[in-house]
Symmetry: C2
Subunit: 498 residues, 2 copies
Amino acid sequence: MFEAAELGQTLSPQRYEAGLAKLRSRLLAAHLALRSRKFPVIIIVSGADGAGKGELVHRLNEWLDPRGVETHAFWEQSDEERERPPNWRFWRAMPGRGRIGIFFGSWYTAPIIRRVFGEIRDGEFDGALHRITVFEQMLADDGAVILKFWLHLSRKEQKKRLKKLEAAGRLGPDDWKHFKRYEKFTRISEHALRHTDTDAAPWKVIEAADRRYREFTAGTLLLNAIEQRLKAVAAKAVAAKPPVAKAAAAPAKVAPRQRRAGSSILAHVNLKQRLTDAEYAKKLEAAQSKLSKLAWVAREKQVSMVMVFEGWDAAGKGSAIRRVTQAMDPRLYRVVGIAAPTDEERAQHYLWRFWRHLPRAGLTTIFDRSWYGRVLVERVEGFAPEADWQRAYHEINDFEEQLGAHGIVINKFWVHISEDEQLRRFKERQGVAYKQYKITEEDWRNRAKWRPYQAAVDDLVARCSTDVAPWTLVAGNDKKFARVQIVETVVKRLEAAL
Amino acid sequence: MFEAAELGQTLSPQRYEAGLAKLRSRLLAAHLALRSRKFPVIIIVSGADGAGKGELVHRLNEWLDPRGVETHAFWEQSDEERERPPNWRFWRAMPGRGRIGIFFGSWYTAPIIRRVFGEIRDGEFDGALHRITVFEQMLADDGAVILKFWLHLSRKEQKKRLKKLEAAGRLGPDDWKHFKRYEKFTRISEHALRHTDTDAAPWKVIEAADRRYREFTAGTLLLNAIEQRLKAVAAKAVAAKPPVAKAAAAPAKVAPRQRRAGSSILAHVNLKQRLTDAEYAKKLEAAQSKLSKLAWVAREKQVSMVMVFEGWDAAGKGSAIRRVTQAMDPRLYRVVGIAAPTDEERAQHYLWRFWRHLPRAGLTTIFDRSWYGRVLVERVEGFAPEADWQRAYHEINDFEEQLGAHGIVINKFWVHISEDEQLRRFKERQGVAYKQYKITEEDWRNRAKWRPYQAAVDDLVARCSTDVAPWTLVAGNDKKFARVQIVETVVKRLEAAL
């Protein structure tokens, strides 16, 4: 891919100046327009040392509206970053919709450097590249425009540049060290580029020897990408207008894989399971005591946990969560209740708000409702288009796989109760002053949609129960049984992990 | 203060149960009400080891609406926390308006522990306590309800509790170590409590030997505090209704210390200062080259910088910032443009959004507009009540002092131009396609308020120019002169710091 970037291309000062004013006006206009079109633009600036990556970042910042652009550089990981899955640091830096994020250093840096210095081999390297394409595809599916610039220098040009930079005292600390491995670096980079050059996130290799040429080229490529998307969005808005209006008014689409009640996986949960008070006290005490100790061991061994609690309204999620947390020192866990997203969250991919809450090493995050909202409420209520929630199963599996690969112990609970039991509890809650607030109109509305929700649960269990992140279906008609089942499950999985 | 908490108070199961339902309903009602009243509640849970702090945290979580409460525990600092001023970690965890934050561990922990283990002496300890009262006052001034619980145990009771916890395997790792220093710990804690027991943030010492007594007491104190504030807010809303409506309609109040143009400090900026193109090229190159090297040295020595750019519209802030950043590797700095706050920011104290952007060790954050908006636009336009912006000078000085105490090098620039020069530039911008977006109706409106803005600038320079964070008034009529002045100032202060 690099041969085409060793042609000796240059841009004369005259041609540069002549084109610049127009490029800048159009770029700025495009930047301002994308704000209202609400898609994010991700620009990765990478390439050879001394190829002018830093200068290009400066130039882009100069050309764009500073209020709508942010630049992120990635140094060695901080301990907070190291203690989460590798992508956490990039999720932290994602630009919101309508903004441009310039990434100086990216998810490519570590794999390429580690491969060059022999820390990983080809197989692992290719695995990393594959995961990158999945990640970029996910961002693109969410509407992100992704541009990946690679500034290329021939060996000769690179040496010249580094010497010049050295003379000016502007050399980065690792530049010469990397230069010694020019051939290897180039070969491995080219391999990486070839394997990750996708429609969703294409590479733009730019000949970098001439400042004016490389900057003008990058600016033009950026402009084209944004303008193209703006056109596509506008065209879609026009074309889609009447059907969109209709769809919004139409009732939520019934889930496709709806089965008869008996065929639901939930029908196989034995809701008759019960515990006597004495059994409950004894079993709960035993499980909590184990969990209490294990939680400290996990802290010591830096093993993190993530728990997800989903279930029918009034199934007893909250009280079950408390039985788990009672056993743990409050410094060891956080409960994150998932309600309406804030505007910072709404401006991001739907998984962003969960990434931000991932626990540090040795700690636990308990999600009271979770990313499964995408394939539950958003699916059933029609908040997300079918294409979006269909894609979500895959995205969620990928997300959980990353947690698992990082050594995080994952527990997911669907707390199940029967329709009759739910009705009984709704009525009971209405009778207790400090429980009334828990019953809203919405709960009754949800209840009316039991079948479509059930179909959604069937799908998420079928599609997202993996080795690393299995679903546990909890028999919730007897709260005592459910609580013990949950705490014991947490203990069992944690024991296995330690 | 602790004698009153060794009376052997208990609560029988009967009385506890009898009162609990009512307490919980009222607590929940108060919690739901404060959501719409939009003030944050900060609960600090502290006290002796083994006194049931963790249990109390659990209980409060059980009693409150889980969607409106968050618990934060503070372990040893992460490197990201260590690299910022000590309060950064607490700012990260602040509950937004309408939410309750439970702090398990707090700004008291480190000073008390360090004093107990002899790492600091009385003078430094008292200094820390004083800074805490200032900090809490600031939060309270912003509307926060602050409750500080101290769970007290007599020596005998503590020993009993620790043994019991040990038997159950629930002992924290440092508990016995701390117990050995019971007397000292108690004496020093009592000293801390006495010195920080303010109206804004009172201490509530609770006898902790009996679980039911301590939890019921804490719940009642919390309830009273919230209910009291709800009443006060409601009363104020009723009383203030007619004048508030009037105030909103009235024109912005003219700043009190308005002087004649000649007496403004800005009149003393010599706007005639100019550089020829040749001087400019030479001086800028020299200064940028120095800055480029110094920025790497700063990174090596872990010295951070914060820069603030304020100035008249069209004064050339943006292009001046670029002359600074051009000299620095993009990995070494971030530019943060301050525009309208997000809703997460709006839900916090106005300084929160700046705390979140403080640089890690060795890096630089450049604020394009800043916390001075509080005493500039918010003052002049009447967005903030006078009491709020008057208080802000003090809050800002305190904030910058914390940055300075942490070793951060602070530069603050007011880029000054004359009214005539501004007019000339407005017209010029309207003539250049890619500059038009920079001129809006608002700029013309601001221009009409030159005098009140000038008075505001006079005040902020007079009141917020400190040794650690001096203002530099930049002569901006000649952009070349201004840019060189700025880069040279940055270099000079950084050199002095290194």
